[in-house]
Symmetry: C2
């Protein structure tokens, strides 16, 4: 059964930290985010072409970090090109336009859960199930900015990734 919290999760970005780690109406959250991506593209005059749209769907279907070659494999299986640039270009488009994030530590990509926010998220990566989730990064960004400022460093971007065990895996007794 799908409870109110699940519905809320797909519409209340500020409260969905760890969504990927919880039970939720997945088809709903995916559909909602694809719709949101279409809106964004329309608003901004971007072209969410078939490959790009499908790449985003693939990321959304997983709530998990996927390597470019994993995405490529699926795209190729659906009739798109099967050469690396096909995947990298689609993924780069999604990242540049805030619809996906690159995870440096994993050399992988994930769908963004708040497209349009123009945020640099903090990403949590579960080492047991490899699922990933975004968490609010404002406090972290502030701390980074402060440390950097005292070194005279002008921050233009950040990579903040936490590695560990998600709540589901801990509940399941994972060590």
């Amino acid at each position: 059964m799908i409870g109110p919290a699940d519905i809320e999760a797909s519409t209340q970005p500020a409260t969905d930290a760890g969504l990927a780690f919880r039970r939720h109406d997945h088809s709903n959250c995916c559909g909602g985010l694809i719709a949101r991506a279409d809106e964004l593209a329309a608003e901004r005059g971007l072209k969410l072409t078939p490959v790009r749209r499908r790449a985003l769907e693939i990321l959304l279907e997983e709530h998990r970090a996927l390597g470019a070659y994993e995405v490529l494999e699926r795209l190729a299986g659906e009739g798109f090109g099967n050469k690396p640039p096909v995947a990298y270009r689609a993924l780069d488009f999604l990242v540049e336009n805030g619809m996906a994030h690159r995870i440096a530590r994993l050399n992988a990509f994930m769908a963004c859960m708040h497209p349009g926010d123009d945020h640099t998220p903090m990403v949590m990566i579960c080492r047991a199930c490899r699922s990933v989730a975004e968490a609010p990064a404002e406090p972290v960004a502030a701390a980074v900015a402060e440390s950097a400022a005292s070194a005279g460093f002008a921050v233009e971007g950040t990579v903040v990734e936490a590695l560990g065990l998600c709540s589901a895996c801990r509940a399941r007794g994972e060590v």
Copy 2:
């Protein structure tokens, strides 16, 4: 001329954020850190063998992120093996033992400026000169831990990297 601040920088870890970005007595700071690495190895029963020691020196000589193959090239030029595992093994040893850090965003490595602290640092990466520096990460780590906790996520490690312009490059009018 080498001023007091430069001396201090190599012996007062808590105050050296951004050291790499400033003028300082470089041979002094390198020598001191090699000596510190020797101490650490002795304390912990680690073997800082010739390749490992040389790999660390190479990183120290640069105050800059070096790719594994850059390190390999130098090692090979000095009579060590010239196959990738030679560099990767030395670098992995240094990272595992807190004498160097891996920079996820650059697929590169840097010498640690506070070996023995057992810290996960925040790293600042200058896009103009590619120099890197560590900054205190406690406030950042705290913010990360707090965000993660509200998602039920147990943090075991973090990657915190800031990209931007260092003070030297800004002073030099870099945009």
